[in-house]
Assembly symmetry: C2
Homo-oligomer: 172 residues x 2
Amino acid sequence: MQLTGYPGRMERTSFSKWNCSVAQCLEVVGEWWSMLIVRDAFMGIRRFDDFQRDLGISRNILNQRLNHLVEFGVLSKEPYCERPLRYQYRLTEKGRDLWPVLTAIRQWGDTYQAPDGPPVELVHKGCGHTSTAVMHCSVCDEPIEAGDMKVAPGPGYKGDSILPVLRAVSRS
Amino acid sequence: MQLTGYPGRMERTSFSKWNCSVAQCLEVVGEWWSMLIVRDAFMGIRRFDDFQRDLGISRNILNQRLNHLVEFGVLSKEPYCERPLRYQYRLTEKGRDLWPVLTAIRQWGDTYQAPDGPPVELVHKGCGHTSTAVMHCSVCDEPIEAGDMKVAPGPGYKGDSILPVLRAVSRS
């Protein structure tokens, strides 16, 4: 897999102190490689060498990323071989719950960045058709889009946090 | 907004050559700051100084990230002041279509990384209730989860690409 270089390096910032669930999710899986590791795990890849072969990533960075995902409970790490000691990585429930994130990312890529059409499609076993995921309201079951929704402070809202919430609330 | 440092720098890799829509989406919005800029844009922020104040990001990095999002058609850039020349940034249709990505990211953060509860909630204007987004099948309208879906090669699938698709297909 041929990788092209990217000009420049970027300072990594931790979002851990931000009172924002977008930032908190990115703190866990917002690193370049993390969502591709999660993608591979959904596809059934378990072993270090298989991740490494599929992603073409350096062993050092892959090791860092896997440890980070284990530390945050997205992957579990268990030995599958004693001599030499080898581990396999599996999605935890927390990791499997990233499926909507992965799916939304993939579908946007299919729509806007796949000139030859989607490389991969999902078939809904229930109805047997090639399907895309559409977001529906958890209460009334109707399909929802950005314009259908209004932002409101939640139980974890702290007055000192994000400016845009204040603005959005004041506009509503 | 206090940011903590993160040990080490990470080499940036371009995914532009990968035949994978997850990688292609990450190529556009996978950078640390990009989804937070998109979040702010959804909340109504338009101007450089407002992004800068809200994110606490350096002007140099913010400028790079905004230009990247403009280059890939996620944001449009138009002058709002002639002297001095000042621009505002707005989500394009391509940018607004990131709403499911942003929503899935936020909801996962709410579930797993928000010990005091969601800082922000969305109210569905249609039914008037605080709501979460649930993925449904575009064909039969039933709710779907990872285990309900089977991977298949799509029209853009190229034999030389991703290993896990082959594996998943061979397992199904």
